[in-house]
């Protein structure tokens, strides 16, 4: 990645999205950094060397699946089985990509590859919350690159500090991730049809969580969308 290009694109990101949105993205990245701290610390405390959370945080770049991988392997599970469980958790990125407009922008090569890699819950939700395509692109890249920096930085620092900070629960940090996503989907939920679909989906996910492997309940939530489809058919 040429530094000139990076400076130019960061400048255009700064011009395109409002300062408020950029500040919100920074806060979301800070929350990611905190969760990364606990991730690195937990990984080391579970007996993994530093390079495992470090490599995963860069190459996988999807927190929930990394926690799951570490947890399963630490409990004596097979790493390949742990990877498959993590993939189930990450399968939601496929429908994300179908839903997003062309947020990575023009260009094929590395830009497309990097643009795909920085797709995560935060960058998707920030992009969807913007009004037009230029802003969606800017928000997607700003948040995606921010998470790409903050998640590994947090994980490595957490692994170095070790078990000092495994008790993130005391500060309510575990409430930050759902609150970040919720704050950003609330505007979309003001639409009644979407809200009903989301409610059905959330109930399906919660009802199936006790019985199914992690990741599957969230995918089953897509059943909520069927409600919209049948409605559309009926009104036609």
């Amino acid at each position: 990645m040429g530094s000139v290009f990076r400076i130019n694109s960061m400048r255009s990101i700064y011009r395109t999205i409002a300062g408020g949105t950029l500040r919100d993205i920074a806060l979301a990245c800070l929350a990611v950094w905190f969760i990364g701290l606990s991730y690195g610390a937990i990984a080391v405390a579970s007996g993994f060397p530093l390079w495992v959370p470090a490599a995963q945080s860069v190459l996988v770049l999807a927190g929930a699946s990394e926690f799951l991988f570490i947890g399963i392997v630490a409990a004596g599970g097979n790493p390949i089985a742990a990877a498959l469980a993590g993939l189930l958790v990450n399968a939601r990125h496929l429908p994300y990509g179908l839903a997003l407009p062309d947020v990575t922008g023009p260009g094929r090569g590395w830009r497309r590859l990097l643009g795909s890699h920085v797709m995560n819950d935060e960058s998707v939700v920030f992009a969807l919350a913007q009004e037009d395509l230029p802003r969606q692109r800017a928000a997607y890249w700003a948040c995606g690159l921010g998470v790409l920096l903050c998640w590994p930085a947090g994980a490595v620092l957490g692994a170095l500090i070790g078990s000092m900070i495994t008790n993130t629960g005391a500060f309510g940090l575990d409430a930050m991730f759902p609150a970040v996503i919720l704050a950003l989907v609330v505007p979309a939920l003001r639409d009644r049809v979407t809200a009903r679909a989301a409610l059905i989906g959330a109930v399906v996910a919660l009802a199936t969580t006790p019985f199914l492997p992690a990741g599957l309940p969230v995918l089953l939530a897509l059943a909520g969308v069927l409600g919209i489809v049948t409605r559309k058919r009926a009104t036609r």
Partner: protein, 107 residues
């Protein structure tokens, strides 16, 4: 850590598979021409996925209930977001409510 080779294999499997999920969505979307109603449906689908993610990460831990402190904090954040409070206020309020409840002994 038991078997480094196996852990590396698992790590690479997870990395490659996750990238494949991320890469194939936009590619499929470019290849297939979706009518406008399908586009709005796909966008609703993303909102539904994100809402389900909020519900499960707020309320559950593993396969069970996470305890009342975290969902209470997220709910407080949700109410503030609905009333159009700034993002910063929403997220910090969620963490603060959860932290205070835990301080009071709520799990």
């Amino acid at each position: 850590m038991k078997d480094t080779t196996l852990v590396v294999a698992g790590l690479l499997t997870l990395s490659a598979g996750t990238f494949a999920f991320r890469f194939s969505g936009p590619v499929l979307r470019q290849r297939l021409a979706f009518p406008p109603w399908a586009n709005s449906l796909l966008e609703a689908a993303a909102v539904v996925l994100l809402a389900a993610l909020v519900a499960t990460t707020a309320l559950t831990e593993g396969h069970g209930f996470a305890g009342p402190a975290r969902p209470a904090g997220v709910l407080a954040g949700g109410v503030l977001a609905w009333r159009k409070a700034p993002f910063l206020v929403v997220v910090l309020a969620a963490a603060a409510v959860t932290a205070v409840l835990r301080l009071l002994g709520v799990p």
